[in-house]
Assembly symmetry: C2
């Protein structure tokens, strides 16, 4: 059994944040596929594992962690990589991670579910979510036009968090090279690191049955 075990599936950008961190830091890790699309996260068994009913969940020795931002935080401590060196820096890094969870990954992830995976059509919700998602891209882009990284003048877990959904560009229906080149430059910088892999290569469950 690997040292770290990650409950994940290939379509989850939140799980990807944890998987990418594990891979970039060279951790000995294994994945445990979560059958999200058949309702596994809604089962009582899964709720015992995570009361919030979400992926990812990380198991490490007797530690069980949920919430991608907290898993990244823990892995930064364990590996000594991509973390902070002071409480002020922690707050600056986490400021972007809270924003990511609230405004960037959240709207992007929900919009993408409706656009790609949902069986029901909801154009009103898509319009609202897309507007908020594009607002988030404008804020991210403005910051990255003047800074190489989100916080601390170097790559940190804030970047690993915020990039989580953005490598699914074609499914989101955006082309950052065209619309937000500063975002594309930053995504390319992360993707050039040793160990980087696309979420569909790094985690199990792609392609979905019937999605070819």
């Amino acid at each position: 059994m690997a040292e770290y075990n990650l409950y994940c599936f290939a379509q989850s950008g939140n799980a990807y944040k944890a998987a990418l961190m594990l891979e970039l830091t060279g951790c000995d890790w294994g994945s445990r596929f979560v059958d999200f699309f058949n309702g596994e996260t809604r089962t009582p068994e899964y709720r015992k594992l995570n009361v919030m009913g979400e992926v990812p969940v990380l198991l490490h020795r007797d530690v069980r962690l949920t919430q991608s931002a907290i898993i990244l935080d823990y892995l930064a401590e364990q590996t000594g990589r991509y973390g902070w060196s002071s409480e002020d820096e922690r707050r600056d890094i986490q400021r972007w991670m809270f924003w990511d969870n609230h405004k960037l990954s959240s709207y992007t992830g929900t919009y993408r579910v409706l656009r790609v995976f949902s069986k029901e059509s909801n154009p009103g919700a898509m319009e609202l979510l897309k507007g908020r998602m594009m607002n988030a891209y404008a804020i991210l882009s403005a910051h990255l036009a003047e800074n190489d990284w989100l916080a601390g003048n170097r790559m940190t877990i804030a970047d690993i968090s915020a990039c989580g959904y953005l490598y699914y560009q074609d499914e989101i229906g955006v082309d950052f090279a065209e619309t937000h080149p500063a975002i594309q430059r930053w995504l390319d910088a992360i993707a050039s690191l040793d160990g980087w892999q696309h979420p569909y290569d790094l985690m199990p469950g792609h392609p979905l049955p019937g999605k070819g």
Copy 2:
């Protein structure tokens, strides 16, 4: 001038989190009204103050902080109240704060905007957001049925964060006493503390012009 100055407005549950923390800990603080409904957070001047274009913003001496969760974190350090005593406890508290930002305050806040403040009708978006909001209430309620507080067996900034939007119950159109008594019990416990005030009493800008 007060020691702490908070950019806020009465309708913002995220600003309320910071205002409530300042009040419960007896800080010397003043409010600076942000005219959100007339577009102040979209102005270049405001974006210089906060690149994310959000309230709250807290000024304290030469420190300027954004994101309610980070302001709560800083105030816990400054006041020695409602914070953590170890890194493990910090992660448990912040796990709930990330969940709040991602799933609870976010869906509740957006749903409430559409229900109460938006000039345009979007029933599809409201249906989606309400479903996700009710999922979040079920998770919060299940946890609070077995625990007095979200983390650490005592009231912490996780509770102050998660309660932020829930005192606007009538505007959200829910009645927790009826549907989720564990949530109502927890809201009442916070509201019984010395210094507690409803967001409409604690921050400027209520009522909105024309909303009586």
